[in-house]
């Protein structure tokens, strides 16, 4: 009885110590299909982008932090586009006008597939917006980013994938 108590106490302490760790990320599994029409009516399909490194970024105009990542993403595409980096947005459950305004205000240069009912994002396992996925040249998910994409993330995670 007392030994069990001691073990429970150890578990408690361990729990208290570990409570700060972040969500586990499942990496290197094939990316889910992503095909659809962007806000200007052009068709995009991730399957056709095999051979490129793709950052898939899920965003919505009603999400405040999403504004922070437009700049880093647009810049990264301009800088590394020639080396095979493609940025493909997914506009999650949004009002078309509001999304259009968002793109204009933030000056997004990358296209975004419209995911009006959210089905594509759910298929990708999106837990909240913004959330981004790094898809490697073989079409596998190499990294997942919860929250807005930053210049650091691009430098530390995306660029090595592009160069490697």
């Amino acid at each position: 009885m007392r030994r069990r108590g001691a073990r429970a106490a150890v578990a408690f302490v361990a729990v208290a110590a570990l409570s700060a760790c972040g969500p586990a990320v499942d990496v290197s599994q094939p990316a889910a299909p992503l095909a659809g029409v962007d806000m200007d009516g052009r068709h995009h399909d991730l399957a056709e982008l095999q051979g490129s490194v793709v950052v898939v970024s899920v965003w919505a105009s009603w999400c405040g932090p999403c504004r922070e990542e437009v700049q880093p993403l647009s810049q990264a595409e301009q800088e590394w586009g020639d080396d095979g980096l493609v940025v493909l947005g997914v506009n999650f459950k949004d009002h078309p006008d509001a999304a259009q305004r968002f793109v204009e205000e933030e000056g997004a240069t990358f296209p975004s597939v419209v995911d009006a009912d959210g089905a594509i994002s759910i298929d990708w396992g999106v837990t909240g917006v913004p959330q981004s996925f790094l898809v490697d040249r073989e079409g596998e998910i190499a990294a997942v980013r919860f929250g807005p994409v930053t210049d650091e993330w691009i430098a530390d995670v995306v660029v090595p994938e592009v160069q490697g």
């Binding site: 578990a11 729990v15 208290a16 409570s19 586990a24 405040g64």
Partner: protein, 648 residues
């Protein structure tokens, strides 16, 4: 001001520590003085903080953290317990009040050694929580913690002024059964006075706990917008476990129930109830468990864990010291009141253990193997349902069982009236509603109701207390009925334009308009809808969405139209001011309002049963020889001879 507040808290801790030592040293006069002074110190600290809050004295960090310019005075007052630091101070105040109440009430009722031991334990807790309150002092906040503002949810509903104080009162009052448990183990003795106080203080804790938990359920039902009242959230569970223990304790310590091994049960349950309270405090304030009720992560975790471990270890050491109390003869006939009571406490203990397992398993598994698990309502419902059925059946039939050996034949002869009513009710409800579980729950309620009527009508000694206890049982039965009924609802979620209708079951809501108002503190969108059922108008509903700019938080304010058999529950989920469309969630929730009535009935029943008798005789009227034979259901919740009155 911050220095004075901290000094008061520190002096409360030192005085309480001194009081604990003095109680153990049996210097009673001085001990009493120190105990009362420690209360006065924390009272002064709380008064100081309340003054700062009401005057919005921005020199105090905590005031800046929890209040804002436009906050009404009521929510400034309640802001004391809206963030962690203040809530710990308030907790300390409740504990100190309970300690003094116990000492004053127990002074001439308990043997001095017993009183001293129990008071010493209580004072030690006051000292421990004073230390906690100094580390997380609301007078001098740690850097950076000012930014974590409390959710506007806590500044938006009148229940904020009642729900937390009730729970704090109930939780802290459970420290007394713990202290009494320790005192019994230390002195290796119990006795009639001990049992009376144990019971009385358990009732004093049980009533506000029951009311507080149900008020919390009602609050979440009324504001969260999804129409549920219980989410099996780890923190909700943390408040449920002490309640379950207190309920079991009520059924162990009644004078008439002291049979079949009651003493070890009373001692263990008394210890477990408050240990679970401290565990709850630890869980809500350490950041170990994610929950909407949890305060943000803090360095308090280890300190509270230390308090928890000290309390549990101390109790275990005392239990080894006083292990002679655990020997008892638990034998009773299989069909007897004793067995019913035993099933009751075992089942309640099992429910508590399973809830504890469900609350802690995900965290433990994560720590041990790194796997993430979720435990949600479906798990609790499935796992606890068999035990709930056992508890409810025993609750209904138990009061009809005789002490000592009973026989099936004689039992059937006594319970035919409620049984027939129950069967008929089940049949009718099943024919009308076509739901088996609901029909059975209705039958159970009818059974308890008839038992209550019989208990009131038939004259027998101890009638008032018996009726009170049966009334409390009726409350539980109605609550079970409401819980079962609330599962058969209809929900529809739809985006509609003005002039369009949402339909759920036979109830419809037609959108008339969407308006926007800004009241300075928040930006409110309000949908105006016409409710209708079977061609009858049910009036208008005006659910709102409130945007709190300062907190960047959106809160729903659903509109609830309570009818006799169900609630029409309308939530505004989203709106589009350009197209004047609104996304409306329309739900019909059967019997939910019965749950609030049930809570009132149960609390009233417990109060009636436990209200101290006029001091005709010191003891309790003995009805044991008569009740079983006159065919009167008898829950024998016979009260505490004055504990409740003294403390209330």
């Amino acid at each position: 001001m911050g220095i004075i507040g901290n000094a008061l808290t520190v002096s409360c801790g030192i005085l309480a520590l001194a009081a604990a030592a003095l109680w153990l040293a049996r210097r009673e006069q001085w001990a009493r003085l120190a105990t009362v002074l420690s209360l006065l110190a924390v009272l002064a600290a709380v008064a100081l903080m309340e003054f700062a809050l009401l005057a919005r004295d921005t020199a105090v960090d905590y005031v800046v953290k929890v209040t804002e310019e436009a906050l009404p005075a009521y929510y400034r007052f309640t802001a004391l317990w809206s963030a962690m630091e203040g809530s710990l101070l308030f907790w300390l105040l409740c504990l100190a009040i309970v300690t003094v109440a116990f000492v004053v009430h127990g002074l001439h009722r308990l043997p001095p050694r017993m009183l001293g031991a129990a008071a010493a334990v209580l004072c030690a807790f006051v000292a421990a929580f004073a230390a906690v309150s100094i580390v997380a002092s609301p007078f001098t906040l740690a850097e950076g913690s000012i930014a974590d503002r409390p959710s506007p949810l806590l500044q938006d509903h009148a229940a904020m002024g009642i729900h937390p104080p009730l729970l704090y009162l109930g939780f802290t009052a459970l420290a007394i059964p713990f202290a009494l448990s320790c005192a019994a183990l230390l002195t290796r003795s119990t006795g009639a006075a001990w049992a009376r106080l144990m019971r009385g203080w358990t009732v004093v804790a049980w009533i506000p706990l029951t009311a507080g938990i149900l008020l919390g359920a009602w609050w979440s039902y009324a504001v969260l917008g999804w129409g549920g009242y219980w989410a099996w959230d780890p923190v909700e569970n943390a408040s449920l476990m002490p309640w379950l223990m207190a309920t079991a304790l009520l059924h162990v310590t009644g004078p008439r129930m002291r049979s079949a091994g009651w003493r070890p049960w009373a001692i263990v349950l008394g210890g477990a109830a408050f240990a679970l309270v401290v565990l709850a405090t630890f869980l809500t304030r350490s950041g170990v468990i994610q929950s909407i009720h949890a305060f943000s992560v803090s360095p308090l975790g280890p300190l509270l864990l230390a308090v928890l471990l000290a309390a549990v270890t101390g109790w275990v050491v005392l239990a080894l010291h006083g292990r002679s109390l655990f020997h008892s003869d638990a034998r009773a006939a299989v069909l007897s009141r004793q067995t019913a009571l035993q099933i009751n406490r075992v089942a309640l203990a099992l429910v508590t253990l399973i809830v504890l397992a469900g609350s802690l398993l995900p965290t433990v598994v994560l720590a041990v193997s790194g796997d993430r698990l979720s435990v949600g309502p479906p798990w609790y419902e499935r796992t606890l349902a068999p035990l709930a059925v056992v508890l409810l059946v025993v609750m209904a039939v138990g009061p009809w069982l005789r002490w000592g050996a009973d026989s099936v034949r004689s039992l059937l002869g006594r319970i035919w009236l409620p049984a027939v009513t129950a069967a008929a009710t089940s049949g009718v409800v099943a024919l009308v509603v076509r739901d088996v579980v609901l029909a059975l729950a209705a039958g159970l309620t009818a059974f308890v109701l008839v038992s209550l009527v019989v208990g009131i009508v038939r004259r027998a000694p101890g009638r008032r207390r018996r009726a009170g206890a049966l009334l409390a049982h009726l409350g539980v039965a109605i609550a079970a009925l409401a819980v079962v009924g609330s599962g058969i609802g209809a929900v529809t979620e739809r985006t509609v334009a003005v002039g369009q209708t949402v339909l759920a079951g036979d109830t419809s809501a037609t959108l008339v308009s969407v308006d926007r108002v800004d009241d300075g503190r928040r930006d409110i969108a309000e949908a105006r809808l016409l409710l209708e059922r079977d061609g009858e108008s049910l009036g208008e509903a005006r659910p709102q969405l409130r945007w709190y700019e300062e907190h960047s938080t959106m809160l729903a304010a659903p509109e609830i139209r309570p009818l006799f058999f169900d609630d029409v529950y309308v939530t505004l989920l989203d709106f589009d001011p350009v197209d004047t469309t609104a996304t409306i969630r329309l739900a019909v929730n059967p019997l939910v309002s019965w749950l609030w009535v049930a809570g009132g009935v149960a609390v009233a029943g417990a109060a009636i049963a436990a209200w101290p008798a006029r001091p005709r005789r010191g003891g309790v009227p003995s009805t044991r020889s008569t009740s079983g034979h006159t065919g009167v259901p008898d829950t024998a919740v016979v009260g505490a001879g004055g504990a409740a009155g003294g403390a209330a």
